[in-house]
Symmetry: C2
Subunit: 333 residues, 2 copies
Amino acid sequence: MKIGELGERALIKQIAALVAKTATSEMVGIGDDAAVTQVRPGSCLVTSKDMLVEGIHFLLPGITAKDLGYKSLAVNLSDIAAMGGVPRHAYVALALPQATESKFVLDFYVGLVALAQQFGVAVSGGDTVASPGPLVISITIQGEVQRESVFLRSGAKPGDLLCTTGPLGASATGLLLLQHHYSCDQELRDQAMQAHYRPLPRVDEALWLAEQDVVTAAMDLSDGLLQDLQGLCEASQCGALLYEQDVPIHAATTAIAPMHNLSPLTLALNGGEDYELLFTIPPECFAPLAQAYQERFLTPLSVVGKMSTEIGIKMVTKEGKWEKLEFTGYQHF
Amino acid sequence: MKIGELGERALIKQIAALVAKTATSEMVGIGDDAAVTQVRPGSCLVTSKDMLVEGIHFLLPGITAKDLGYKSLAVNLSDIAAMGGVPRHAYVALALPQATESKFVLDFYVGLVALAQQFGVAVSGGDTVASPGPLVISITIQGEVQRESVFLRSGAKPGDLLCTTGPLGASATGLLLLQHHYSCDQELRDQAMQAHYRPLPRVDEALWLAEQDVVTAAMDLSDGLLQDLQGLCEASQCGALLYEQDVPIHAATTAIAPMHNLSPLTLALNGGEDYELLFTIPPECFAPLAQAYQERFLTPLSVVGKMSTEIGIKMVTKEGKWEKLEFTGYQHF
């Protein structure tokens, strides 16, 4: 049934029933002019908002409604993780083309609600309107963070080690597999598709890292290591040195990139949408941190380089050469 | 210059410069993965989010960029007022067609920032992306409210008086004046256009009312008195009786509606976008409240009817007849 046949009120009622399955820490939720929630004494509020547009950030019917709902929330949860926060409340606004099937909208919420439940996030409000053009999604997520343990991009010092929470390139590899008919081991294909459609935001890892009190700067990897690292370097007013041999590359990327005449490293550095954490710590803190981390989480921490005084990003290649990496970065327009 | 020529980074830098003129109560603002803000001890957080789509909620070039920025924030401030909250932080997401002039985007922010300054609101974050279709705006606004003074739609009791903070119909009259060439007294025309393009959210009035501790239910008038009152009645599980002679109608509406073969009352009941407060109070509280209110604010309070036990909305006409008002309400799709 098209949303036009079902009608706005009936659709919102069905959405509200799905959303009721999420945590309900709000005191006033959907149905009033605004949601009323509480922040625990001593906590700060951490808020992120983004907008995803059909044809720019995702293609239909390339992505299923459930995956779209999941991923729309996941990328926002990743922003809260990047600040060391605990995600609490999500607000979802949708602009829907007239021809949208109501099942599509409800499946979107099924995917989103499943992830919200996994992280204890309450879907507390939003807006559902018509669009004469593409489907547009805007999610705002609020979390809590202790003031003293907020992760910023600006705290890295020359000499700090640069670390990631997992291998890079898998999401971009998933996109390649969607666009081309490359043959690939089924398990690697599944991992790449999972990374592309259902990235797991590193919320638990970030909270654990925040507790250890050794992280000097952090952000999430959404635009690719090179571009994001550039942001971290600018905020911290220092440079970075990457070691080619230490950049963790996902096995699917290693297998598929050459079929597309790309080096796996290129995809790992520029692919984007990895949603791993990128963070810096003083070198003497790494060994005990990495060991404790590995006892707790499946994927080990990787050191990919270190921060330097010299502005700019350089790489030491496997052959021991130095390369200056110039990156202009993706711009929306 | 088109945004494509200016580039995303240059545009965001210019937006950030404008936004820096707003209150800066955030501890971490634009530039990190999320904004970090603080809620005063004892306060609750009140959050509203909406989405405005070109061709659905506004027409270009019908509305100027500055007015669009102003109005986009105003309608959100009105939601916070409707809850009795103090607005604190705004997050602005824009999906921009490639052909958008950068001046348009900056003027949008000039209009928005001016209103944010007026109400002490900090523009603390957001997202700026490309749109292959219409311009889409999503604003999230966060405010603070004391738990005991939150306005809800659900507290009205039969016998309570139903009040508004101002005359109705002016915004819809402004829209009529835009669409047709009706001759009209210049001052009335200006008032109607002002009401349509630059409604003043009743934030100060709502906070004052919240302090008086007599309001039993409240909301803002965005969809028209009849539809909004229906929402208040449903939430409060009672009905309402309107007195035709007491519904305050804006002078511009009285002058213009007949030229369009509409009764002024119809525009006042169904016009929408008035952004006045609709609230209920016990009858014995009205006289002292109205007097104190009038000493403080320019526009007096109006009693438009009273809440009743019988479900549904009825009206006593000027001729003393009873009419049952059926209203199906605007649906987005």
